[in-house]
C-alpha cells in the first residue's frame, strides 16, 4: 500500500514537470495554432540562463529567476518574429518544420557555447522534503506542483476573463476578423509566445531544480512528453494540459512499477491511443461538431 502511494508520488514528480511544460505548449498551440517544436528547447535555454545567472554572474536567486523568465520571453518573441511570422500565410506544416529547424538551432547554439558535457546544477529550492506517514515528497516536487497549479489558474483566468485573453481567442479563430475589431494581431501573437516561453522558462527552472543537471538536449524528450500530455488532456485546453501532464507522469510510473520497465513507453502511448479513441479530442478538449 505504502509503495503504491510512493509510486504515485514518483509519478507526480515527473508529472508536475510535464504539466508545467504542457501548459506552455497548449497555450501557444491554442492561440497560434501551431505545434511549437522548439518549446522544449526554450526550457533548455531557461535552464542555462539560470545557471549562468546564478553560478556565472552570482546574481541572487529571485532576480536570477526573473531574469531567466524575461530572457526566455524575449527569445520566444524573437523566434516568432524571425521564423514564424513570415510564414503566417503558409501551410501549417511549413511552420512545423521551421519550428523543428529552430529546435535544432537552439540546441546547436547551446552545444557550441556550453559543449555537450552536462553541467551539474545545485537546486535553488531549499525547501526540505516532507514526510507524511512513511512517504516522502521532495520539496522541489511540492514547489513544482504549486507553481503549476498557480500558472494553470492564472492562465485560465487570463484567457477567459481578460480583454487580452479574448483578443487571443479571437486571433486564434480568425485573424482578419480580429483585426477588424481593433485587435493588433502581431502584438497578440507576440504576447502569446512571450507567455508561452515564460512558462517554458519556469518549467526549465523547475526541471533543473528537480534533476540538477543541464545539457543542450535536455528539453527534447520532456518537450515531446509534454506534447503528448497536452494532447492527452485535450490540446488547447489549459486545465487539460495540467491534467494530462499529471496523468502521464502517474501512468508512466505505475506501468514501470507494476507492469514492465521495458514496455513503459509503449504502455503510455497505448493509454493515449485508447483515450483518444474514446474521446477523440482528449480528456478535456472540446469536441467540435462541424456545422455543415
Amino acid at each position: 500500500m505504502e509503495s503504491i502511494i510512493e509510486q504515485l508520488i514518483n509519478g507526480l514528480r515527473s508529472g508536475s514537470i510535464y504539466a508545467l511544460i504542457a501548459l506552455g505548449y497548449t497555450m501557444v498551440y491554442g492561440i497560434a495554432k501551431m505545434i511549437n517544436f522548439a518549446h522544449g528547447d526554450i526550457i533548455m535555454v531557461g535552464a542555462y540562463t539560470l545557471y549562468v545567472a546564478t553560478a556565472g554572474l552570482n546574481i541572487p536567486v529571485i532576480p536570477a529567476v526573473l531574469l531567466t523568465i524575461v530572457v526566455c520571453a524575449v527569445l520566444g518573441i524573437i523566434i516568432e518574429k524571425v521564423a514564424y511570422k513570415p510564414l503566417r500565410k503558409a501551410p501549417a506544416l511549413a511552420v512545423l518544420i521551421t519550428a523543428i529547424g529552430m529546435s535544432f538551432l537552439l540546441q546547436s547554439i547551446a552545444l557550441l557555447i556550453f559543449n555537450a558535457n552536462p553541467i551539474t546544477f545545485e537546486s535553488i529550492i531549499k525547501l526540505k522534503s516532507v514526510k507524511i506517514g512513511g512517504v516522502t515528497i521532495s520539496g522541489v516536487t511540492i514547489v513544482t506542483l504549486a507553481v503549476t497549479l498557480i500558472c494553470m489558474v492564472a492562465l485560465t483566468l487570463f484567457i477567459t476573463k481578460t480583454k487580452a485573453g479574448s483578443a487571443m481567442r479571437a486571433v486564434s479563430e480568425d485573424r482578419a476578423a480580429a483585426e477588424l475589431m481593433g485587435v493588433n494581431v502581431n502584438k497578440t501573437i507576440s504576447m502569446t509566445f512571450a507567455i508561452g516561453s515564460a512558462l517554458a522558462a519556469v518549467a526549465g527552472i523547475m526541471f533543473v531544480c528537480q534533476y540538477q543537471s543541464i545539457k543542450p538536449t535536455l528539453g527534447a524528450l520532456p518537450g515531446i512528453k509534454a506534447f503528448v500530455a497536452a494532447v492527452l488532456g485535450g490540446i488547447g485546453s489549459v486545465p487539460g494540459a495540467m491534467l494530462g501532464g499529471m496523468l502521464l507522469g502517474i501512468i508512466e510510473s505505475v506501468s514501470k512499477a507494476y507492469i514492465s520497465t521495458e514496455l513503459a513507453d509503449a504502455i503510455v502511448f497505448g493509454v493515449l491511443v485508447l483515450v483518444l479513441l474514446v474521446k477523440p479530442s482528449g480528456l478535456l478538449g472540446k469536441n467540435r461538431i462541424e456545422k455543415v
Partner: protein, 331 residues
C-alpha cells in the same frame, strides 16, 4: 489567362505517348549516369556511399507524401513502418538460405507486406482522429513499435540485428525507387488518388459523393506503410545492422522535413528535397563544430524562402526563373 491559374493537365489516354517515352528515357539515362559515375571512379567514396541512402530517402519521402501531402494527414510515425520492414527483411535474409537476389527480393516484399499489415492494424483505429491528434498518435505508434522491437528476443533487443548481408546497392535502390515513384504517381492520378485527394480537400463533400472516407484513408496509409517497409529492408541491408534507436521519432521527423520542404503533394519536390537533404549534412561536414548549426540555419532559411511568399514575389517580378522544384503547393 494567367498560367498559374491552371490546374494539372488532363491524363493522357494512352500508354505510349510522348510524356511516358521521355520519362522512360530519363529513367534509363539517370541509371547509366550512375553506372558511369560509380564504376568509372568519378565519384569519390563519400558521394558513392550516399547513393543508396538517397534512394531510400526518396522512397520514404514519396511514400510519406501519400499520407501527408495527398491524404492530408500528418503522420509522425513513418519510421515505425520502416523499422518493421527493416527487421522483417533482416530476420528473413539472416535465416533464409537462398541465392542472394531471390532472398533479397523476397525479403523486400515481405518487409513491405508486414509493414502494410501493421499499417492496417494501426490505421483502422487511428484514422478516425484528425489533424494534430492523429500526428501525436502516429508518433506514439512509432514509439510503441520501437519499444516492442527493443523488447523482443528475435530482434536482438537494444543491440539490434547484426551482420545482415549487405545486399543493397545502387542498382537495387534505384530500381525500387523507380517502382515506388511509378506506383505512387500512377496511383495519385487514378480514381483512387482522386478519392484520396478529395478527402484531403473536403472530407464531408467526399462522403457526399459516395467515397468511403475511412477505406481510402486506410488505403493510403497502408500503401505508404508498405513502401516505408520496403525502404526499411533496403536500409537494413545497406548498413548490415539495425537497432531500435535508428527508428525513433527523429527519423520520422527527418522524413517529414523532406516532404514539407519538397512541397506537400509534389512527388517531384519530394525527390529533389530528398536528394538535397541527403547531401546537405555531408556537404556541411567541412564546417566541423558548426555543422548542426548550419544545417538548422539552412533548413529554416529554405522554409522561409519557399513558403513566405518571398519566392513567389521574386518569380513574379521575373528576378528568379520559375523553378518547378520544391514547389510550394500548399494553400
Amino acid at each position: 489567362m494567367n498560367k498559374g491559374i491552371k490546374g494539372n493537365i488532363r491524363n493522357r489516354n494512352n500508354l505510349i505517348n510522348k510524356k511516358n517515352i521521355i520519362t522512360l528515357a530519363v529513367i534509363i539515362a539517370v541509371y547509366i549516369a550512375c553506372v558511369i559515375l560509380v564504376d568509372g571512379g568519378i565519384l569519390n567514396r563519400q558521394a558513392k556511399s550516399l547513393l543508396v541512402p538517397m534512394g531510400i530517402n526518396i522512397i520514404l519521402a514519396v511514400s510519406l507524401n501519400l499520407t501527408t501531402g495527398f491524404l492530408g494527414e500528418l503522420s509522425l510515425g513513418h519510421a515505425g513502418f520502416m523499422a518493421i520492414g527493416a527487421y522483417t527483411g533482416a530476420i528473413f535474409t539472416l535465416h533464409a538460405n537462398m541465392p542472394e537476389a531471390v532472398e533479397f527480393l523476397i525479403g523486400i516484399i515481405l518487409g513491405g507486406v508486414v509493414a502494410a499489415i501493421f499499417g492496417v492494424l494501426i490505421g483502422v483505429p487511428v484514422l478516425r482522429l484528425k489533424g494534430d491528434y492523429l500526428a501525436i498518435v502516429t508518433l506514439g505508434f512509432g514509439e510503441i513499435i520501437r519499444s516492442l522491437v527493443n523488447f523482443m528476443g528475435i530482434t536482438g533487443g537494444a543491440m539490434g540485428l547484426k551482420q545482415i548481408p549487405r545486399y543493397s546497392n545502387y542498382t537495387w535502390a534505384y530500381v525500387i525507387m523507380i517502382i515506388t515513384l511509378l506506383c505512387i504517381t500512377n496511383l495519385v492520378n487514378s480514381r483512387y488518388g482522386r478519392a484520396i485527394k478529395a478527402i484531403r480537400d473536403n472530407y464531408i463533400a467526399a462522403e457526399s459523393i459516395g467515397i468511403k472516407v475511412s477505406r481510402y484513408k486506410i488505403m493510403a496509409f497502408v500503401i505508404a506503410a508498405f513502401f516505408a517497409g520496403v525502404a526499411g529492408v533496403l536500409y537494413g541491408h545497406h548498413l548490415s545492422i539495425v537497432k531500435p534507436g535508428d527508428f525513433d521519432y527523429n527519423k520520422s521527423i527527418e522524413i517529414l522535413v523532406i516532404v514539407v520542404l519538397g512541397g506537400m503533394g509534389s512527388i517531384r519536390g519530394s525527390v529533389i528535397a530528398a536528394v538535397i537533404l541527403t547531401i546537405l549534412p555531408e556537404m556541411l561536414r567541412a564546417a566541423d563544430d558548426f555543422r548542426m548549426l548550419l544545417y538548422a540555419v539552412v533548413l529554416i532559411a529554405m522554409m522561409l524562402f519557399n513558403s513566405s511568399g518571398f519566392r513567389a514575389r521574386l518569380e513574379e517580378s521575373g528576378k528568379l526563373p520559375k523553378i518547378p522544384l520544391l514547389a510550394s503547393k500548399g494553400k
